[in-house]
């Protein structure tokens, strides 16, 4: 019997004003799988991801995540339950969004201290382990302003992991990085995938998608064009618009 999905979206719709961004999206992620979402800018992939932790409110459809119904037909989980649910759903942003007034250690410990009730000592010990894992143990006392983009994003990943989430959402995690810094972030994400973390990744990194993804979903104009294993999507795309998109991307590369 197949495992129950950790994330399961059905018939999601979402409009910003008159612009329909999601037009009935179905999307599943199974435990310990890496699901990569690709597609042209404005296709709705970031909106889909942001709906999955309630940063955006879907107008219609349902999302079940970590065993709870996050939203059903525009009705969001009550605030307190939403906050509890978000602790289990890690999020990494394109623009890092580190807290500039806290040190690296402060950024990684604030969640566990304030929300998981860890003592300062326990939170720090756990944070140092995570920083070591992302290769930034030596930056624990630095402020974010002194870090490179790649370092910032690795801290942001450690900050999300410190909540011990069941699933990690990545919203174009390397899109704001200088090309030479992309690799260090992808490396951390690959290691995470290898450990069995359930991941949803919106990205333009086709190499990462091909190498790490268990499933690739292609989005365009608010719908999922096709879903499949990377080999199928990249080598034998079914939908003509997928072929167009992949051609445009590879030509650029």
């Amino acid at each position: 019997m197949a495992a129950e999905p950790i994330v399961s979206a059905h018939g999601l719709t979402k409009s910003f004003g008159a612009v329909a961004v999601l037009k009935g999206v179905d999307f599943d992620i199974l435990p310990s799988k890496v699901s990569v979402v690709i597609g042209p800018s404005g296709s709705g992939k970031s909106t889909l991801l942001r709906c999955c932790n309630g940063l955006e409110t879907a107008d219609g459809g349902t999302i079940r995540i970590c065993g709870q119904t996050l939203i059903a037909d525009g009705r969001m989980l009550p605030e307190a339950d939403l906050n509890a649910l978000r602790r289990q759903v890690g999020m990494v942003f394109q623009s890092f969004n580190l807290f500039p007034h806290l040190t690296v250690l402060g950024n990684v410990t604030i969640g566990p201290r304030k929300l998981r009730g860890l003592s300062a000592g326990d939170a720090e010990a756990a944070a140092r382990k995570l920083l070591d894992k992302v290769g930034l143990a030596h930056k624990a006392d630095a402020y974010p302003a002194t870090l490179s983009g790649g370092q910032k994003q690795r801290v942001a990943i450690a900050r999300a992991l410190a909540m011990e989430p069941q699933v990690m959402l990545f919203d174009e995690p390397t899109s704001a990085l200088d090309p030479e810094l992309v690799g260090e972030v992808l490396q951390v994400m690959k290691a995470l995938a290898a450990e069995g973390m359930t991941m949803m990744v919106v990205t333009h990194e086709m190499g990462f998608a091909r190498e790490v993804a268990d499933t690739v979903a292609v989005m365009d104009h608010g719908v999922v064009l096709e879903v499949g294993p990377p080999a199928q999507i990249f080598d034998d795309p079914q939908h003509p618009r997928t072929r167009e998109f992949l051609q445009a991307v590879t030509r650029r590369g």
Binding site: V89, H101, L102, L115
Partner: protein, 221 residues
């Protein structure tokens, strides 16, 4: 024409005491104004909370839209008609604090709204409730951005405090006028108290710049 500063020298004790009263009234009003400003500013963040937003907006538009002197007179001369007799010193501090609160609230609101939306999103995505995200993440960053405009507001308040002399409060302005009424040396006395106000306002500006630099060095960019 010639200058005669001897009334200033003879009355320096009174002037010093007046300056102390000016400082007391202003500091009291600043503290009250900051507390009110923080509350009102937070109340004006979300127009969708219509009652809170409406009340706070009405406060700002009424207080900002009427002269401070009129407000002070309402406190001191107007309220006694309803049997509400507050001491002059109380009226000075409360009147100025309420007045300043309207301006501080706009400073608070502007600073909070200038913190990137991603900061709130990152805090919420960790699972922080709104209030905690405000307290731990957004407000600390906004505080640093409030300092330069707050400096302007504090300086304006020091100068505006000269109006409380009209409520019989023996502040710097009041003491100066007392000396003038017996010596008739207006120019000399007004120059002298102008100098005292100048020193007070510039010391305030200097102090805030030091605080701003400290906070900046502490990572509170």
């Amino acid at each position: 024409m010639e200058f005669d500063f001897s009334p200033v020298w003879d009355g320096w004790r009174d002037l010093a005491h007046g300056a102390l009263i000016t400082i007391e009234v202003t500091v009291g009003a600043i503290i009250l104004g900051c507390l009110i400003g923080l509350a009102i500013g937070l109340g004006r963040l979300d127009p969708k909370k219509r009652v809170v937003y409406g009340l706070c907006t009405a406060y700002v538009s009424f207080i900002r839209g009427t002269p401070l002197l009129v407000q002070l007179f309402i406190w001191f001369f107007g309220l006694p008609h309803f049997g509400l007799n507050f001491p002059a010193f109380f009226c000075g501090i409360v009147g100025m604090g309420i007045y300043s609160g309207a301006y501080v609230s706009e400073i608070v609101r502007g600073a909070i709204q200038s913190v990137e939306r991603g900061q709130m999103e990152a805090a919420r995505s960790l699972g922080m409730p709104y209030r905690m995200a405000m307290r731990e993440i957004v407000v600390p960053q906004a505080l640093v951005r409030m300092i330069p405009p707050l400096g302007n507001e504090f300086i304006a308040l020091i100068k505006n405090s000269s109006l409380v002399s009209l409520l019989t409060i023996a502040d710097l302005m009041h003491e100066g006028q007392k000396i003038i009424s017996t010596s008739y040396r207006s120019l000399e006395v007004y120059l002298a108290i102008a100098l005292v106000y100048f020193v007070l306002t510039n010391l305030t500006g200097l102090g805030l710049r030091v605080i701003e630099r400290r906070l900046g060095a502490g990572g509170l960019v």
